[in-house]
Amino acid sequence: MSVLTQHLPQLLDGLLSTCLLMVLSFAGSLAIGVLVAAARVSPVRSLRAAATGYVELFQNIPLLVWLLLFVFALPEVGVIFPLFTTAVIVLALYEAAYMAEAIRSGINSVGRGQAEAARSLGLTTPQTLRHVVLPQALRSVVQPIGNVLIALTMNTSLAAAVGVVELTHAANEVNLAEAQPIPVFVGAGLAYMAVTLTIGLTTGLIERKVAIVR
């Protein structure tokens, strides 16, 4: 246990970095996910195809492969960002695919009558989505979005493989110096668990507050 207390500043820095990575990627993936979900349900055929292509592409290729492609292959064509930025971008794009599917299931759960009523009031499709459908859809998929956030938190540890200094990377460095993998990695695991338990509890609270009583 002393190995954890001795290196606490380093591990806390890593935890902070993980939380920052998580928050930024979540914001990005939520924004992109809403747009992609909207495109998937739009009446414009090419938009639907493009959105479906995006979701299939990002869901069917492993995240580590995406990270390696963005970090090592993109600079070959001249596109290079700092590592942390690259990790945020890749995580946001990847989780947006899952987010879009979760939001789309929420949109499908909103009654057909809502969209019909909105159309009869003269609202265009973007207006319908923005004012009528999405507010109801998002309220009913709080828990699935929370699931995607938990998966995103776990996936941030992959960024350690491409050099981003977050909790897993910090734990590796501490173990390199101390050669005690069990306390170090159990500690890191407990830290991740604390973060995701908080997310789960918060999601439950939010869900109860915004649940639509039908």
Binding site: V41, P43, R45, R48, A49, T52, G53, E56, L57, L68, L69, F72, A73, L74, P75, E76, V77, I80, L83, A160, A161, V162, G163, H169, N172, E173, N175, L176, A177, E178, A179, Q180, P181, I182, F185
Partner: protein, 312 residues
């Protein structure tokens, strides 16, 4: 709502995506193996020594290994020139792999080895719970590690070298890297060495040596610090990089043995001294590193702190 896009559209989309991705793959990928002329030759280890039965009494660790029929070695399968699995033959090639086979010949009479993939994060735990018998994985000797496992050796030593792009002219020592971004392999002893000599340097780490080389080429760091053995194969196949100066801060590596198996430690110590004296260590070195690093004096067993020393 309109029906979903037709099957044909899906197929066209998939084909377009595949074309784009293969186009992106024209640059060297991080997983490419080391240069073609650096493959290790087969070491000539005919007549390698075997232990007398009296050296392995009943109930000892070595006797248990003999009864099992093979030696379990913690090692890598992706370290070029050290322990790399040949995908065509399924055989492990490299210095560490050859040394493991020599030890197995000493105990069992045949080079029967099973390699368990270990990593910096898992080595001590694997030795502690006896999942592996020994670790042959360029295991650097440090005082903290010596508290968890017994080191027999040194059996190999290597120094750090700095690799830079060809146009960098202002780097010659570690101290020159202060305030700059330096690339190092994740979990290598280069990291504490850089921190000591250049405390203000920003260290970027990647999992594998090819990834670090790629990062250096792309300008993510000013220099790449790695031990000269690992650099041996990579730099020759990268003409836009160069190596600066001679290897420095020689570090020693030992064979990892579980802390609670003193009989195994004494046994491996005897074996190591024997293969060095009889010239097998030199033979294995020449076969693996001769082409890239030239000749090297064999190490003196027991000559550095924190290793096993026989009590007479």
């Amino acid at each position: 709502m309109r029906p979903l896009p037709t099957r044909r559209a899906f197929v066209l989309l998939a084909a377009a995506t595949a074309t784009v991705l293969t186009g992106c793959g024209s640059g060297s990928s991080p997983a490419s193996p080391s240069g073609p002329d650096k493959k290790p030759a087969a070491a000539d280890v005919k007549g390698a020594p075997t232990a007398a039965a009296a050296a392995m009494p009943d109930g000892s660790t070595m006797d248990r290994i003999r009864e099992r029929g093979y030696l379990i070695v913690g090692g890598s399968s992706d370290a070029p020139l050290l322990s790399q699995k040949n995908p065509l033959t399924g055989k492990y090639e490299g210095f560490d792999a050859d040394m493991g086979r020599l030890l197995a010949t000493y105990i069992l009479g045949e080079p029967k080895v099973r390699i368990v993939s270990s990593a910096t994060q898992t080595r001590e735990a694997l030795l502690k719970n006896h999942t592996v018998d020994v670790v042959f994985q360029t295991y650097s000797i440090t005082p903290e590690r010596a508290e968890q496992v017994t080191f027999v050796g040194p059996y190999l030593s290597s120094g750090f070298q700095i690799a830079t792009r060809k146009d960098a002219t202002d780097i010659s020592t570690l101290a020159d890297l202060n305030g700059k971004t330096v690339i190092a392999g994740a979990n290598t002893p280069a990291i504490p060495a850089i921190k000591k000599a250049a405390p203000k340097a920003k260290i970027l780490t990647f999992d594998s040596d090819p990834a670090c080389i790629q990062a250096l080429k792309q300008g993510r760091g000013k220099a790449y610090v790695q031990d000269n053995i690992t650099l041996a194969g990579s730099i020759d196949s990268a003409p836009e990089l160069k190596v600066v100066g001679k290897p420095f801060a020689e570090g020693d590596m030992g064979i990892g043995v579980p802390k609670d198996q003193a009989d195994m430690a004494a046994f491996v110590d005897t074996w190591l001294k024997k293969v060095i004296k009889d010239g097998y260590w030199t033979e294995v070195w020449k076969a693996n590193f001769g082409a890239s690093l030239g000749d090297h004096e064999p190490p003196v067993v027991g000559s550095v702190p924190d290793v096993y020393t026989a009590k007479d």
